[in-house]
C-alpha cells in the first residue's frame, strides 16, 4: 500500500506553484492605493483612496470604452448562446457525415492563436471593403464565444437521459413543447454558465479586437483603453482601479459558472 501522504517537497512545490499563480494579481490591488503615480515604486510611499474618486469623476475617457465593452460582450454572448446551443443539440446523439469536421471547425477559432483569427478577419474586411464598426468587433467575439457555450451545452446534453425526451413525446408534447418544458429547464444552468464564461471572455478580449475595431475612439473597448494606458501611462493608479473593475467583471461570472456546473461532468473552464 502506497502512503496517502505526499512528500513534503512535492506539497511545497504544488502550493508554491499556486501562490505563483495568484500573488501577482494581489499587487494590482495594492497599487490602486499608492500615492505614487509616476512609477511602480515598492513599497508604496503612502496609501490613499483618492484614485477611486478620480476614476469615477475626473476621467470621462473611461466611460465610453466601458459601455462599448458591455454592449459588445452582451451581443456576442447572445449570438453565441443561440448558435452554440444549436450545434450542441445537433451533435449529441446523432452520428452524421462530417461530424468530426464540424467539431474541429467549432474548436478552430480558439485553438489557433488569436492573432490569426484577428488577421484573418481583418483581411476579409479588407477584401470585401467592410468598414470597421461595433459590428465587426461583435463578429469576431461571437465566433470564438460559440465554442464556450457549445462545450457547456454539449456536456449537459450528454448527461441528460434520452428517456425524458421520449417520455415527453409519449405524453403528447410536440418538439417545441418538449424544448420549452423539458429541455430548456434541464439545460438552463449549463447555458447560463456558458453564457457567463462567453461574456467574461468577450469583455476581456484584446488580441482579436485590435484587428477588428479600427482606430477611432468610438470603437475603443475597455481592454484597448487599458492597453493604451500600459503603453502611454498617465495616472498609473487609475489604470489599477480600472484593472480591478475588469478583474471583478471577469472573476464573478467565472465563479458563478463554476457553482452552476459543479458536480456535473461539465468542466466549465476547459473550453478556453
Amino acid at each position: 500500500m502506497l502512503s496517502d501522504r505526499s512528500p513534503l517537497s512535492l506539497r511545497a512545490a504544488a502550493i508554491g506553484g499556486l501562490l505563483f499563480l495568484h500573488l501577482p494579481i494581489l499587487l494590482i490591488f495594492l497599487y490602486a492605493f499608492t500615492t505614487e503615480e509616476r512609477s511602480f515604486q515598492f513599497p508604496p510611499p503612502g496609501l490613499t483612496t483618492q484614485w477611486f474618486g478620480v476614476a469615477w469623476n475626473d476621467r470621462p475617457d473611461i466611460w465610453p470604452p466601458l459601455w462599448l465593452s458591455l454592449k459588445v460582450a452582451t451581443i456576442a454572448t447572445a449570438i453565441a448562446l443561440v448558435l452554440g446551443t444549436l450545434v450542441a443539440a445537433a451533435m449529441t446523439r446523432t452520428a452524421f457525415f462530417g461530424r468530426d469536421q464540424i467539431s474541429l471547425l467549432i474548436l478552430l477559432p480558439i485553438a489557433l492563436p488569436g492573432v490569426i483569427t484577428g488577421m484573418a478577419l481583418r483581411s476579409a474586411f479588407g477584401v470585401m471593403d467592410i468598414p470597421f464598426s461595433v459590428w465587426t468587433i461583435v463578429l469576431g467575439h461571437a465566433t470564438f464565444c460559440i465554442v464556450i457555450v457549445y462545450n457547456n451545452a454539449v456536456a449537459r446534453l450528454r448527461r441528460l437521459s434520452g428517456g425524458i425526451m421520449e417520455a415527453s413525446a409519449d405524453l403528447g408534447a410536440n418538439a417545441f413543447q418538449t424544448f420549452r418544458h423539458v429541455l430548456l429547464p434541464n439545460m438552463g444552468s449549463a447555458l447560463l454558465a456558458g453564457g457567463m464564461l462567453a461574456f467574461a471572455l468577450s469583455f476581456d478580449e484584446v488580441i482579436v479586437t485590435i484587428f477588428t475595431a479600427g482606430s477611432g475612439t468610438e470603437s475603443k473597448t475597455l481592454p484597448i483603453w487599458m492597453l493604451d494606458e500600459l503603453i502611454r501611462p498617465r495616472q498609473r493608479p487609475v489604470t489599477n482601479v480600472v484593472a480591478i473593475v475588469v478583474f471583478a467583471a471577469t472573476l464573478l461570472p467565472i465563479l458563478a459558472a463554476y457553482y452552476l456546473t459543479r458536480g456535473g461532468s461539465e468542466t466549465a473552464g476547459m473550453g478556453k
Binding site: L27, F42, V87, M119, A120, M128, A175, P223, N240, V246
Partner: protein, 313 residues
C-alpha cells in the same frame, strides 16, 4: 369506451412539424446546423481564405499599393535574414516557454491529481481555473509592476543584498536590459506565468487516469521513486503534457501584447503581423507571417495526434 387512435392527430403546425422531424430526422438536423455552420463557414473559414489569398498578393515597393495578382514573392520575403530572425526567435521562445511550463506544472498537477481530496481538490481546481480565466491584460499589467526596476523584485533583492543576481542575469548576452521588464528574460517569465494554467489542466487530467495499482506494482517490483517517475508516471502522463504543450506553444507563437509591453521590443511573429498590417500597411506580408504559425501548428497537431494527445484533451 370509445376507440381513439394510438397516435394523437396533428392539431397545429407545431405538431405537423414534430411529425416531420420524427419521420425525417435529417430535416431537424439541417435546421439545427444551418445557422451555426453558415456563421462559422462564412465568417471564420471565409476569413481564413481571405488571409491565404492576401498572402499570395504582393505590395508595390514604390507606390505601396497592394498588387492583386498571384505571386510567391511575399513568402520569399519571409526568408530575408531580418524576417527569418523573427520566425526563429518566436519558435525558440515558444519552445522554451513550453518546457518551463511543463516543469512548473508537473508538481501542481501531480499533487492535485493524486493527493488532493475533497475541499482541497476543489481549491486546487479553482486555484488553476481562476488565473486561467481572469483578465489577460490585468495579469500582464501585474507583471509590469513586479518587474519594474523600482518594483517588488528589485526591492526584495535590495533588502536581501542579492541585487547582484539580477544584475548578473541581465548581463548574460542576449538577456540584456536595464531591468527585468526590459529584458527578454522578463518576456519569458510573463509568458510562462500567463500560459501555465493551460498546461496544468490537461496534465492533471491525464495524471488522474494513472491507476494507483500501477504505482504500487512498480514499488513492489523494487523501483525507487525516481524510477517509478521515469518509467511509469511520465510515459502515462505524456499525452497530457503534449496536449498542454499545444496550448502553451500555440499561444506563445501568436501573442503580440506581452513582448510589446515587457521585453526589449525585439520582434515576434505576432508583433510583426500587427505592425505590418497597421502602420506599415503591408497586408500581404502580414498575412504571410500569420500563415507561418498555422503551418507550424498543423505539423505540431499531426505529431501530437500520433502520440495520442487528443485523448487527454
Amino acid at each position: 369506451m370509445s376507440s381513439s387512435p394510438a397516435i394523437l392527430p396533428a392539431k397545429g403546425p407545431a405538431d405537423r412539424l414534430t411529425a416531420l422531424f420524427w419521420r425525417h430526422p435529417r430535416v431537424l438536423l439541417a435546421i439545427l446546423l444551418t445557422p451555426p455552420l453558415l456563421w462559422l463557414g462564412v465568417v471564420y473559414l471565409g476569413s481564413l481564405a481571405a488571409l491565404l489569398l492576401q498572402s499570395f498578393y504582393s505590395i508595390d515597393e514604390f507606390s505601396g499599393v497592394v498588387k492583386e495578382e498571384f505571386t510567391l514573392k511575399t513568402y520569399a520575403e519571409l526568408l530575408r535574414p531580418s524576417n527569418f530572425d523573427i520566425l526563429l526567435r518566436t519558435v525558440l521562445m515558444a519552445a522554451a516557454v513550453t518546457l518551463a511550463c511543463a516543469a512548473l506544472a508537473f508538481p501542481i498537477a501531480y499533487y492535485a491529481a493524486r493527493y488532493a481530496k475533497g475541499h482541497w481538490k476543489a481549491a486546487f481546481y479553482l486555484g488553476v481555473m481562476l488565473p486561467l480565466w481572469s483578465s489577460y491584460l490585468v495579469k500582464v499589467y501585474a507583471w509590469k509592476l513586479i518587474l519594474a526596476k523600482e518594483g517588488i523584485i528589485g526591492w526584495a533583492a535590495e533588502q536581501t543584498h542579492t541585487s547582484w543576481i539580477i544584475d548578473g542575469l541581465l548581463s548574460i548576452p542576449g538577456m540584456e536590459g536595464s531591468s527585468l521588464s526590459t529584458s527578454p528574460l522578463g518576456t519569458f517569465m510573463v509568458f510562462v506565468y500567463i500560459w501555465l494554467p493551460y498546461m496544468i489542466l490537461p496534465m492533471q487530467a491525464s495524471l488522474e487516469r494513472v491507476p494507483n495499482s500501477m504505482l504500487e506494482a512498480s514499488a513492489d517490483l523494487g523501483a525507487s521513486r525516481g524510477q517509478t517517475f521515469r518509467t511509469v508516471i511520465l510515459p502515462l502522463a505524456l499525452p497530457g503534457v503534449i496536449a498542454g504543450s499545444i496550448f502553451t506553444f500555440s499561444l506563445t507563437l501568436g501573442d503580440y501584447i506581452i513582448p510589446q509591453i515587457i521585453g526589449n521590443s525585439a520582434n515576434f511573429i505576432g508583433m510583426a503581423v500587427y505592425q505590418l498590417q497597421g502602420t506599415a500597411g503591408n497586408i500581404p506580408l502580414a498575412a504571410a507571417f500569420a500563415v507561418v504559425p498555422i503551418l507550424i501548428m498543423l505539423i505540431y497537431l499531426a505529431i501530437a495526434r500520433r502520440m495520442g494527445a487528443f485523448d487527454a484533451l
